[in-house]
């Protein structure tokens, strides 16, 4: 097992080095210092900013400096758009914010999606299946933004108007702990994050359910299902025990492939709910040409993506004996 992981890591090192190289080159096509300071910058200003970012160093040194930062997870460079805050601090503060929305959304979406898919597969071709799939397609067809705007309106604004703010658990927006001060408790997560989670869940359920149903339907036509049924196993048992176990590979693939996006967060959701997660910060950095943040965040995201791919391969092997670690 460890050998397999080590091999995978080694194979992916050149890939990662290549990604970092491309990212660094792309970010230097135009002089980032000039992009920050504008065309009227004085030579002294340019020099000052260049020095602070190490941009006055040869490219090779900058390259290895960034790699060192990724390996040690130590990004000391100061953000250009949020003074006094290092890239490392921004990463550390924003990742949990994003995870607070995306992890529950992913977990619930996978569980509920699989359950609905199993029900749809059980009733394949019948009214229940069709209704579920129509709802899923409808869910997929509506813009994410519409869900957010409607969610804020019907999920928070309207009930708060109707019941009074103190009687309704969801806030319209907000990163609560800031404004709650010492009164903040973990339970405040519900107030500020539950509504985004529900909206995210509704959005992702459409996609997930359709995908999982397709997996289940394909699995249900396999010979071992016919055999199990012929041997007298009940249909619910065949579907919920035998079939589900064998459908785990595509399910894992889908869940794992979503993992890197957990970190990037749900950008729109974070912007509309004012949650300073990683997606929000990255978009903000792009808007403000915040070179240190863009470079640091992209390097970390690329690393996360590669680690996820490796983790997916390992999980395959654990779940499916046909996949060998050697």
């Amino acid at each position: 097992m460890w050998g397999f992981i080590a091999r995978k890591l080694i194979y992916n090192v050149p890939v990662y080095l290549g990604i970092i190289l491309i990212v660094m080159l792309a970010l230097r096509v135009q002089d980032p210092t000039l992009m920050k300071l504008g065309k009227n910058a004085t030579p002294a200003q340019i020099e000052s900013v260049s020095k602070s970012m190490g941009l006055d160093q040869p490219f090779v040194i900058q390259y290895f400096e960034l790699l060192k930062n990724v390996v040690t997870f130590d990004f000391q460079e100061e953000s250009w758009s949020h003074g006094g805050k290092s890239v490392g601090e921004m990463l550390k503060s924003s990742i949990p914010m994003s995870l607070a929305i995306t992890v529950p959304t992913l977990g619930l979406s996978a569980i509920i999606g699989v359950c609905i898919a199993l029900v749809a597969a059980y009733y394949r071709g019948r009214a229940v299946d069709r209704v579920l799939m129509i709802v899923a397609v409808l869910g997929m067809s509506i813009s994410y933004l519409v869900y957010i705007i409607f969610g804020q309106f019907f999920g928070a604004f309207l009930p708060r108007q109707a019941l009074g703010g103190e009687n309704w658990p969801f806030e319209i927006t907000g990163y609560g702990p800031l404004f709650l001060g010492e009164g903040a408790t973990p339970m405040n997560w519900v107030s500020f994050y539950m509504l985004p989670v529900i909206i995210g869940l509704i959005v992702s359920l459409g996609y997930d359910t359709r995908f999982y149903r397709a997996v289940m339907v394909e699995e249900s036509s396999r010979d071992y299902i016919t055999t199990a049924l012929a041997k007298g196993a009940s249909k619910p048992k065949v579907i919920f025990v035998h079939m589900l176990k064998n459908a785990m590979i595509p399910i894992i693939t889908r869940v794992m492939s979503t993992l890197p996006f957990l970190i990037t967060g749900a950008v729109l959701m974070e912007i509309y709910f004012k949650i300073p997660g990683m997606g929000f910060q990255l978009i903000n950095a792009l808007t403000n040409l915040d070179f240190p943040v863009i470079q640091g965040f992209v390097a970390v995201l690329a690393a996360m993506f590669i680690l996820t791919v490796i983790a997916t391969d390992v999980l395959y092997a654990l779940v499916d004996p046909r996949v060998r670690l050697s």
Binding site: M35, G38, K39, N40, T42, A44, Q45, E47, S48, V49, E78, S81, H82, G83, G84, K85, M90, S93, Q152, F153, A156, F157, L158, P159, R160, Q161, A162, L163, G165, E166, N167, W168, P169, E171, I172, T173, G174, Y175, G176, L178, F179, L180, G181, E182, G183, A184, M187, N188, V190, S191, F192, M194, I271, Y272, K274, I275, P276, N284, T287, N288
Partner: protein, 614 residues
């Protein structure tokens, strides 16, 4: 006066109650229910810096004005704008024909308590703090973000900056103790500043947040973190770094040691009826905490305001129709019945379409070129643009000087005698004939080659261009729109490559000089004179203007300069937007303005108002 709480339909109430019970979870509790808290929205992801020497945006100005103080501040209620001492005992005395400024500090101004001071107790502010704070503008560590404010202004300051820059280049430390010829400390409370030449605008600059006074101990102790851990002398303070969550919000708390300072007594006659004078003479600040919420998207901000969890807001573009009657320009009845108050705040805005005076086709100073440019202006329907884009709430005017400043044409139509503001298509055709174009039987100029028109890409710019093209087409003027991002627009204009372009200018301080400098010859591109307008008579008048004392003679001088510009027509214009504020009835003492932001200390809230949401 009556207040109204929206009542739910029974079914909705039933459903929402059931959901609340199902969740079984408590709504968030406020930190201290006894505190007076005001909740203020900002349509942005937030300020970038809390260090005045590194800040430049209006958002930074808003928050910094709560915990930092400047030598002067604006009179809160008085219009036109007027300055008064803030940490000074009296207004500075000006000698040597406006070159020498003498200052005396108040004796009771203390920095916030912070661990950078011995025993954590904030010390008294002294003259050396002022000089130190301003010297920071010359420090390359802060990338000279605000150097433009003092460039060539104070005697010996440029030389000091160059000398210190050279030291830093050699790897040595920036020397804050080195003297500047024009900055002289007399004693702890008195100091004087000698300018390179008389400059009336210096007083306005002294009220800008970039000139705030900071303690050296805090800068040295907190280093790069100083921008997140401000220590000033203001009525509010930041307790810790955690009070600012990037992208989400910022909380500031009442400074318990704030000196004796009172709500202003000087006011305008209409302020009495508006209830703005009731707190006159009372100790400030009134609230215990200010919560600044950052809203990069306007939709949630609007919902929060409607849900009574924000105390005031500006009306987003999409909500104008919902709130303001297009016919009467007044707040609609349903909003008035909730006792929500509307304020229209004219911005010091100069929105215009500019020509490059160095361009071969539209530039130049011959009569035919002037006529061509005037034809453009006469063909533009500024009133239609106002209706289409700003719900009729903006203000079209002649010249480069926005309303509220000396030199603005203050008549009903905001026009000057030699007005060339459109739409007047007959006059536009006349001017086109003078410019050498033949007008066809359809009233359109024959063989008018399109002119490239650069504009920053946005949803609004598409609509502007469509409207311009339709206006121009009436007389046969054609433009080729070129949509670029803003940095590219700046680049193209800096390189003098755009024949015609769309620009806007927000005055840094309420003096026409700030707008008239946009046409001062030596400031041509890449300076602020992007029209590259050069007129020796105008330049001389501008140089005189800088040293003239405020008064009727100066106003006449400004009007002459304005009329020269309208005659030469290096731009088409103009328009000033109006920001519309809505305020809930539980907010007191609020007279909105966007020219200064030191007013948060005057705001008060009625926390027991039945409609105020938590």
């Amino acid at each position: 006066m009556s207040t109204r709480t929206p009542t739910p339909t029974p079914r909705l109430a039933w459903i929402t109650t059931a959901l609340a019970l199902l969740t079984g979870l408590a709504a968030p509790a406020l930190a201290s229910p006894d505190e007076k808290v005001i909740r203020i929205p900002m349509s942005t992801a937030g300020p970038g810096d809390l260090d005045p020497v590194q800040g430049s945006t209006t958002y930074e100005s808003r928050v910094c004005s709560t915990f930092y103080e400047t030598l002067l501040e604006y009179e809160y209620l008085v219009r036109p704008f007027k300055l008064r001492p803030l940490v000074l005992e009296e207004m500075p005395t000006v000698e040597q024909d406006g070159k020498l400024w003498k200052f005396k500090l108040r004796d009771d101004v203390y920095f916030h308590d912070a661990d950078c001071f011995p025993g954590g107790k904030g010390r008294k502010m002294v003259a050396a703090d002022v000089i130190y704070s301003w010297k920071r503008m010359a420090d390359p560590e802060y990338t000279y973000e605000n150097w433009w404010l003092v460039d060539k202004l104070i005697l010996g300051f440029n030389e000091y900056k160059d000398a210190q820059g050279a030291l830093v280049d050699e790897g040595k430390a920036f020397d804050y103790d080195a003297p500047v010829e024009g900055m002289r400390i007399i004693n702890d409370r008195e100091f004087e500043i000698e300018l390179t030449e008389a400059n009336q605008q210096f007083a306005w600059k002294l009220a800008m947040f970039q000139f705030s006074i900071v303690p050296r101990e805090a800068v040295e102790k907190y280093g790069a973190k100083f921008t997140r851990r401000p220590v000033g002398t203001g009525p509010f303070l930041v307790k810790s770094e955690k009070d600012w969550v990037v992208g989400s919000g910022l909380v500031v708390y009442r400074n318990p040691n704030y000196r004796e300072a009172f709500y202003p007594t000087e006011h305008m006659p209409e302020d009495v009826e508006a209830g703005l004078t009731e707190a006159a003479g009372q100790q400030i600040p009134f609230v215990d905490r200010i919560e600044f919420g950052f809203y990069p998207e306007a939709q949630p901000m609007w919902l929060e305001f409607k849900g009574n969890t924000l105390d005031y807001t500006t009306i987003p573009q999409f909500a104008l129709e919902e709130t303001i009657s297009r016919r009467t320009k007044k707040l609609k009845r349903e909003w008035r019945s909730r006792n929500i108050h509307m304020d229209k705040v004219p911005l010091l805005d100069f929105i215009f379409r500019s020509f490059n005076m160095d361009d071969e086709r539209v530039g130049g100073y011959t009569e035919d070129r002037k006529a061509l440019r005037r034809a453009f202006n006469l063909a533009m329907d500024w009133d239609e643009m106002n209706e289409a884009l700003y719900h009729g709430m903006a203000l079209a005017y002649d010249g480069p000087i926005p309303p509220g400043l000396d030199g603005h044409p203050n008549n009903e139509d905001h026009r000057v005698a030699n007005s060339t503001r459109g739409a007047d298509y007959d006059k536009a055709r006349e001017e086109l004939r003078k410019a050498g174009y033949e007008i066809g039987p359809d009233g359109k100029a024959i063989d008018f080659e399109p002119i490239r028109f650069y504009t920053a890409r946005s949803q609004e710019s598409n609509r502007v261009v469509e409207l311009l093209q339709r206006n121009f087409d009436v007389v046969g003027i054609k433009i080729n729109p070129v949509y670029v991002d803003f940095p590219t627009l700046m680049d193209v204009t800096n390189r003098k490559k755009a024949p015609m372009f769309s620009f806007a200018w927000g005055s840094d301080y309420p003096d026409a000089e700030n707008n008239l400098q946009l046409y001062y010859g030596p400031y041509e591109s890449p300076g602020s004179n992007h029209s590259n307008y050069k007129n020796s008579e105008y330049d001389l008048m501008y140089e005189q203007l800088r040293t003239m004392a405020i008064g009727p003679e100066r106003t006449v001088h400004i009007e002459k300069m304005r009329d020269i510009l309208i005659e030469d027509a290096p731009f088409c214009g103009s328009l000033a937007r109006t920001r519309v504020y809505l305020t809930h009835p539980w907010v007191k003492n609020f007279k909105p303005t966007e020219t200064f932001f030191t007013y948060f200390k005057y705001l008060d809230v009625d926390m027991d108002h039945e409609d105020r949401g938590e």
